[in-house]
Amino acid sequence: MKKLAAVYGGSAPHHRALNEPKYRRWLSGLIYLPDLPGADLDGFDGLLIPERLHRGKLDEAAGSVLAYLDRGGTVLVFSGGEHPPVWLPGLKWEHRPTNFWWWLEPGADLGLVCHNPDHSLFGYIELDDATWHYHGLLHPPEGAETLIALRDEGALLYIDRVSTPGTLLVTTLDPLYHFGSYFMPATERFLDGFLPWVVRELL
């Protein structure tokens, strides 16, 4: 099995999401955020950086995360309302207010679309499993692959294999925070499919 490490920020939502047995089995290691700058990442095929991490501490690890990408590593970055790390190559993020009540209106639609339904990710999750709310829009660099988008606007999840020798997945979906907070059931369906997809298909 390919080795995926996750960064653990010490919060209760992270504690639950990353230690839940059905998710922990896909993780070969947890790296406590303050230890990230000095961590040896070469033993891992991928690094998952969850949403809602202390920005100052994450910025201290920028050099080692970028070096890992330069060595061909895979990095997955989530954002839950906070600006994704500005030092990520190719990143363009735009704030959008969060609408968490959109589904109360009958027939309402959050506006998520996928342009390539044959992508391996959609063998593991359906678009519905990614639909709770989103925290901002991404404008991916040219050549990146957008998997989940907001209709006519921008990306919510993309994979960039052009900006670095490695693979960078960026998303403004925040499933770890919500699953870890016992809130928003779609986030559990998302993680049930997403983590095995990362380990089996992406890495």
Partner: protein, 222 residues
């Protein structure tokens, strides 16, 4: 509105009752947009806690995104702060044993939105005038306030409960010489301040919580 001082709280406040709120590093703390909060609350980066001088503060406010591995390492300092007669307000789910007397979060099994219904077990000045429907629902969505509880020790004052009687807000005056206020809500100071995030947010009586929480801290520590 123009801030009267830096949201980082680097200048000295005018009030003697200084309250520190641990900043979990997600960017500027939106609470500080409000003058009445900025005048009383200073943000303190959570990773500065081990070296920070806590004696000038009468209260420490901690929210649900805090690094509890850090708080576990600093639990003696937190106990000492409380034993000097101070107030600690924790909002969130406890995942480590750093808060005197409290157990780690127990989630509630949710079968319908009614399982999220908040009840007042007794009147408390922080929730005076706050309707329970405004705790149960936020913009029509139930569950923001509590989805389980942090188990309290014996003999605490239970303020709010879930339908099964689970204590989601309590005050503990017995575990230390200070006062511990625990809420299972992610950020009690920010709850009800929806206009922090959106100008068109509807009026809610939950907006009374923030000023009443600060007033209660001031009364407890005066």
């Amino acid at each position: 509105m123009k801030p009267t001082r830096s949201p980082s709280g680097s200048s000295s406040p005018s009030k003697s009752a200084r309250i520190a709120m641990l900043d979990t590093g997600l960017g500027t703390m939106p609470h500080m947009k409000y003058d009445f909060i900025r005048e009383r609350v200073e943000s303190l980066d959570m990773y500065e806690l081990p070296e920070a001088e806590l004696s000038p503060y009468v209260a420490l406010m901690i929210t649900g995104n805090v690094d509890q591995e850090l708080l576990y390492r600093e639990r003696k300092r937190i106990q000492d702060f409380l034993d000097s007669g101070k107030v600690l307000v924790f909002s969130g789910h406890l995942s480590r044993e750093w808060l005197p007397g409290a157990g780690t979060f127990v989630p509630k099994e949710i079968r319908s939105f009614q399982d999220y219904e908040i009840h007042k077990a007794k009147d408390h000045p922080i929730f005076e005038g706050v309707e329970t429907k405004d705790l149960t629902f936020r913009r029509g969505v139930a569950g923001f306030f509590a989805r389980g509880h942090n188990p309290p020790p014996e003999g605490v004052e239970v303020i709010l409960t879930l339908p099964g009687g689970e204590p989601v807000v309590y005050v503990d005056r017995r575990s230390t010489r200070g006062v511990i206020f625990v809420s299972a809500c992610y950020d009690l100071l920010g709850f009800g301040l929806d206009r922090l995030y959106s100008d068109d947010a509807p009026e809610t009586t939950a907006s009374l919580i923030a000023p009443q929480l600060l007033a209660w801290i001031e009364k407890e520590t005066s």
